[in-house]
């Protein structure tokens, strides 16, 4: 099972902050998004992290990972 997290404006667009999904085939961050959000194209400029490290959309994911999607950060 993979935990998906959404933050900030993307969390509002999606309507929830956490989702969980089981995968039975190899997936990347991008294909995982499509699996979890089949009717919503991934917005431009979205950042992605796997297990709290920044990764690209082609990064592989596996059950047990935490995969996060969020807009550019603005802290400080």
């Amino acid at each position: 099972m993979i935990t998906l997290r959404y933050f900030a404006s993307l969390r509002e667009t999606i309507g929830h902050s956490v989702a969980q999904i089981n995968i039975f085939e190899p997936h990347t961050v991008l294909s995982l998004w499509r699996l979890a959000n089949p009717t919503l194209a991934l917005p431009e400029n979205i950042l992605t992290a796997v297990n709290m490290d920044y990764v690209s959309l082609t990064h592989p994911v596996k059950n047990g990972d935490e995969v996060a999607f969020f807009p550019p950060v603005t802290g400080g």
Binding site: A49, M52, D53, V73, T74, G75, G76
Partner: protein, 144 residues
Amino acid sequence: MTVKICDSAFEPFIEIEKFQHGLALQGKFGATSIFIGTMRDFNNGDDVQAMTLEHYDGMTQKQLAKIIVSAKTQWRILDCLIVHRVGEIFPNEPIMLISVWSAHRGDAFEACRYLMEELKANAPFWKLETLATNKTRWVSNSSF
């Protein structure tokens, strides 16, 4: 090297002084470079009445730890403290502080600036502003 995430108001000078008082390196630091970010009551030409800072708990700490390790490979740092507020913040309240202690000023200045730029670029915080008109908006990175 300490990172603190606070969900209520903090006093930056008290945080720094307390931390400095506990340093094992009394007499060894000649230079302290500090940056404090404070909430303004305006942004992008609009009056702002409040802000909510969201973050990715866990990833924030992981990213800040990586940034500090990276700074330590580049400059001679004796110690550093990062405190970052989350949650609802009002104008004039501190948002974050970075303080770097080192023997010499070049290391302190440059590491402090580096930590701040890396924090802005990589630490997963997001600002939701409430304008004076009661409208809310997410702050985009380009506004800074």
